[in-house]
Amino acid sequence: MKKLLLTTAAAAALALAFASAPSRAAQWDGADDLPTSPLACGTGANPAPAAKPYDGGKAVNAPNLAGKEITVVDIPKLIGIGYFNATSKGIQEAAKELGNVKATTDGPTEAKIDEQIKFIDNYITRGVNGILFAANDPVAIAPVLKKALSKGIHVIGYDANSTPDAREWFVNQAQFNGIAKSMMDSMAKEIGEDGSFAIVTSTFTTPNQARWIAEMHAYADKCHPKMKWLETVEAQEDNVMSFNQATTLINKYGDKLKGIFGMTSVATPASAEAVSKAKLCGKVAVVGLATPNAMKPYVHSDCVKSVVLWNPVDLGYAAMEVMRAVVDGKLKAGDTEVTAGKLGKLQVVNGSEILLGAPFVFDKGNIDKFDF
């Protein structure tokens, strides 16, 4: 028995050592460690990004299907949530307009990378002409996408990127530094230049959120140096968990907490709900990424002033248009823009990315014009 107690104590000590070992990181928790490129402060002009040569991959010996009917499968991070239903809707809209595309959406019911890999693998075996994807992990998804390219299947990403050489193009809903700037500027406007804030994210490893947080940190250091980051908490895109985490933040920091960032379309409304329930509307600001429908009640009750997002239907639409343009040979390495149906001309940035546009800030004045 004594031996057991000793073992347990040793194990506990070990666990503690592990848990406390990571020294206070210079980074905000939940940020990744890739290089950042914060935009200019305020409304200052941004330097034009340096033109980068095409760095995407290439489908090997892809059959020439210009103008012919193609089969395209869309494999988002997961299926059955509002956001990816909206992108899927956009893909269908574009397919219908084009008239020569058969598009289906399929994918895992949970955002798990190994499940997603299996889905892509199966569709490669089945034989499709094109794959649209939103990656659960940028590196882990790369081998299977390269396999698709090697079999002559066109691969286009949207929403969440892979490593560039594993796909041909990536439709970027909004550049990370653009979102970060909108978020930090909106927060600074609401809580002042010396306010303290906390962040509710999905998990520390989710690529988009990690990128945004890293860029927010870089932009805050540059343009809002006195604002203070308190903590980042994980809530896994889960409603109840997000609400609980936000409530914990409110209780833990009390008056010190002036604002909460919601990094996911689940965390933002849940944080707003937590602030409303705590009767702190006006005292604790909520700024975040969210779909307008979920935020309408809080925006109308003045609890939330700004919601940052892009239009996911347009995102899916653009991805499908880009796929068709690639198959038809209308978008080639080195091009600087592409025509995407009703969206008009979209700009190529960053070597092999297509930019959907600047992020959109919803507020009381415009939110009722949107329904998704």
Binding site: K112, D121, R126, P143, T203, T205, E234
Partner: protein, 312 residues
């Protein structure tokens, strides 16, 4: 001969063959050499853990922490190489060691405190997953050298590398369970633990070995998984325990202990993997596939048990 035909494994194998023929008939990409080998690659990680899980379940226990151990070992592998500066081969050994240690701790608590394995491993599931997230600080590790991917993505003699390892492990586990006194002891413990103790069998020591094996194989599975997907994340292996247990139980092992074979587990494993793949290739969508799998699981267990009852 007749007795042999009515065994659960035989019936299950027959159902598997029927399902294969059916799915092969429905689409012509399914029964190709390439596809089947590829599916073998994808099922290796679950398969490696299903073998020791069969041992655990035969003794009447359960190990729910295997998925968390996969996550922990993957993280230890990545972090000890990248952040602690160990050479990669040593990091692999360390990861396997951590897996074995994690399993050993499970076994220790289960045998010394006489706590139910279900409760102990639910607790360690949370503990190990938490450790994985703490150690990794939730960052992923990437950029392994090319030779490291050989195991997960390469092939030897035309067969995916990891499938050789799985095959070897299956043979060893099969012989160990069926032909050795160690295997007999497992059945004895599962059938009646008290009787086993009175028969002077080293019940606690054998259990300790079995849970340690379970941890070690989870570590091996983590190594294969990291090599296949080229990256390390703390959420790796999430939910593996359910896939593993489903394969073992479908293979005829009784959750109350005392029965189950490696062959049954292998058939159960292959059946679930090929059904998922076959349905996907036939055009059944992701959410529907899960439902069909559930129905098939229930149906095959029902058929098998009703046939068995008739025999009795």
């Amino acid at each position: 001969m007749n007795r042999y035909l009515k065994r659960h494994e035989t019936i299950l194998a027959a159902i598997l063959v029927l399902a294969l023929i059916g799915l092969g008939y429905l689409n012509d990409q399914f029964l190709t050499f390439d596809n089947l080998l590829n599916q073998g690659r994808l099922m290796t990680e679950i398969g490696l853990i299903a073998l020791p899980m069969t041992f655990v379940i035969v003794t009447g226990g359960i190990d729910l922490s295997v998925g968390a151990i996969v996550g922990l070992c993957a993280i230890v592998l990545g972090v000890s190489w990248k952040n602690w500066g160990l050479p990669l081969p040593l990091a692999i050994v360390v990861a396997l060691g951590v897996g074995a240690l994690a399993g050993f701790c499970n076994g220790l608590v289960i045998t010394r405190l006489k706590a139910p394995p279900l409760i102990v491993t639910i607790a360690t599931l949370a503990l190990y997953r938490g450790l994985a997230e703490g150690i990794s600080k939730a960052r992923s590790v990437r950029g392994y050298p090319d030779w490291f991917y050989e195991l997960g993505q390469g092939q030897a003699l035309g067969v995916p590398t990891q499938l050789w390892i799985l095959g070897l492990c299956i043979v060893i586990a099969g012989v160990a369970l069926d032909r050795t006194s160690f295997g007999r002891t497992l059945y004895a413990i599962g059938a009646n633990e008290t009787a086993a103790r009175f028969s002077a069998l080293a019940v606690d020591r054998v259990k300790l070995i079995v849970y340690t094996l379970s941890g070690l194989m989870s570590g091996l599975s983590a190594f294969v998984l990291v090599s296949r997907v080229t990256t390390t994340r703390s959420d790796m292996g999430l939910g593996y325990e359910l896939d593993v247990i489903a394969a073992v139980v479908l293979g005829g092992a009784s959750i109350f202990g005392g029965s189950g074979t490696i062959w049954g587990t292998v058939i159960g494993l292959v059946m679930i993997q090929l059904l998922k793949n076959g349905l996907a290739l036939t055009g059944v969508k992701g959410d529907a596939t899960i439902m069909v799998i559930g129905v098939v699981l229930i149906a095959s267990v029902l058929i098998a048990s009703s046939l068995e009852r008739r025999r009795e």
